[in-house]
Symmetry: C2
Subunit: 280 residues, 2 copies
């Protein structure tokens, strides 16, 4: 497995791959890889000749009071995981390499970014869309793999690709969970023991609602109220949002019509966790 | 020459070209082609296996009080010119084809868009960057050709490509002029006879300043004052701006240090004309 730290090195590698007609799958990550990322890499491995994993804690998607500095990093462990799953190249640039001395360009997606996490993280999705655009261009990937755990990110990136005619297929992959249902996340390492025990409340609340939706319940408002009620039983939990939105444009809905995203953000202590499900 | 009206048709054609390893040159235009566009097509013809000309009056780069409806159009004449210059494909989509039912994504470049035309045309460069991004992706061009007449556009697009790592080379081409020095522009057709006679004042004023800059004059402020004075001699002319900026970031400068852009926008009657020169 190649470890590349510069854009030029990745581009050189990619040019050679493209010349010989190889397909490229990209798994964009912020590192500190877990089984969730692993599932994306495995899927990319199956569907492409070449698998590139990017491992970059992107400063532009963190707000001024967010956890950029604290965000966990372990590049050696990331390399071991990527290699064991058959990745061909891991791209691990510095912020200076990615953004140079100055960088004035960004990609913005309206409407889909206004609610959910976008409401409390105003710069987040511009940062995501811009870095993902850069990674798409650097990797010239045919496919890129995103976890459904970050459902709004998946919707926003898919929208950006459609709107701007990017030549890449966005593939959303299922949420990977711990045995007790907690969605895998690099930020789970922030939880202390007590908080870790409380955290599965997110999934528990969502799972009950999902079951009812599957059984035919169409009242999204009622399901959101039930999710809220369930989470409020947990004393360590403080709700940021519990929302039902249409999966196309992420607009609030009281009724399940077509694909509907139920998304929640909950503080367990100071740790903000997200989880969701999407109806069929 | 192929006339394509849909994105899908262009993408299909481009896929075939790419498979056989052909290079693609793109000339993005708003149609009503003149010799300025012609010079871009000729240059693209020399440097690429395939030449694609896009012919699209892009609504998103016009402000609410600008000339979107009035903007001149003549697709048949455009086709004749493109064919005579050896273009392989002309892409002439409708706004609906380009933007679908809804389009929420845009590319924004900061700083370089704040001054000059950006100051009075606040949405203009977002529209340009976004449509150009779409055209780059649709055409998968290796090179794209822009006239230096729209110098700020050339700088902004070049910056976007560098910042976001687009795999395309931006090639700026010299301004093409009428015999009396007026820079060729589709908007020149708006001028009545009297205005047309007054319009070369832009070039006259710039040419004098350029000559002094070439002779070693470094005082950009003084040159701007002289340009202003020269234009004010023409009773039909009303200055929008006369500015000297560094060519890298388009920031105001009083002194010529490195490449410096002298850019002007002048109303002749109600017709807004632009022109410029760049020092070595």
């Amino acid at each position: 497995m190649i470890k590349a730290a510069t854009i030029a090195d990745v581009k050189k590698y990619v040019r050679e791959c493209k010349k010989s007609g190889k397909s490229i799958g990209l798994v964009p990550t912020m590192g500190f890889l877990h089984e969730g990322h692993g599932s994306l890499i495995k899927r990319a491995r199956k569907e492409n000749d070449i698998v590139i994993v990017s491992d970059f804690v992107n400063p532009t998607q963190f707000g001024p009071n967010e956890d950029l500095e604290a965000y966990p990093r372990d590049f050696d462990a990331d390399c071991r995981l990527c290699e064991s799953l058959g990745a061909d190249l891991i791209f691990h640039p510095t912020p200076e390499e990615m953004y140079g001395k100055s960088n004035y360009s960004k990609v913005h997606v309206d409407k889909l970014t206004a609610g959910l996490c976008g409401a409390v993280r105003p710069v987040h999705f511009d940062g995501v869309c811009s870095v993902v655009t850069k990674l798409f261009n650097i990797s010239e990937a045919d496919r890129a793999y995103f976890g459904q755990k970050d459902a709004q990110q998946l919707a926003v990136v898919s929208r950006m690709v459609a709107d701007l005619n990017y030549n890449i297929e966005i593939i959303g992959c299922p949420i990977i969970r711990e045995e007790d249902g907690l969605a895998k996340s690099s930020r789970n390492t922030y939880l202390n023991e007590e908080q870790r025990l409380a955290a599965p409340v997110l999934h528990r609340a969502l799972a009950k609602a999902e079951e009812q939706a599957r059984a035919g319940e169409k009242d999204a408002k009622k399901l959101c109220a039930q999710i809220t009620e369930e989470i409020e039983k947990e004393p360590l939990a403080k709700i940021d949002y519990v929302e039902a939105v249409d999966w196309e444009e992420l607009q609030h809905t009281d009724v399940i019509e077509g694909k509907t995203l139920f998304a929640i953000a909950v503080y367990i202590g100071k740790v903000r966790l997200i989880d969701n499900f999407i109806t069929e």
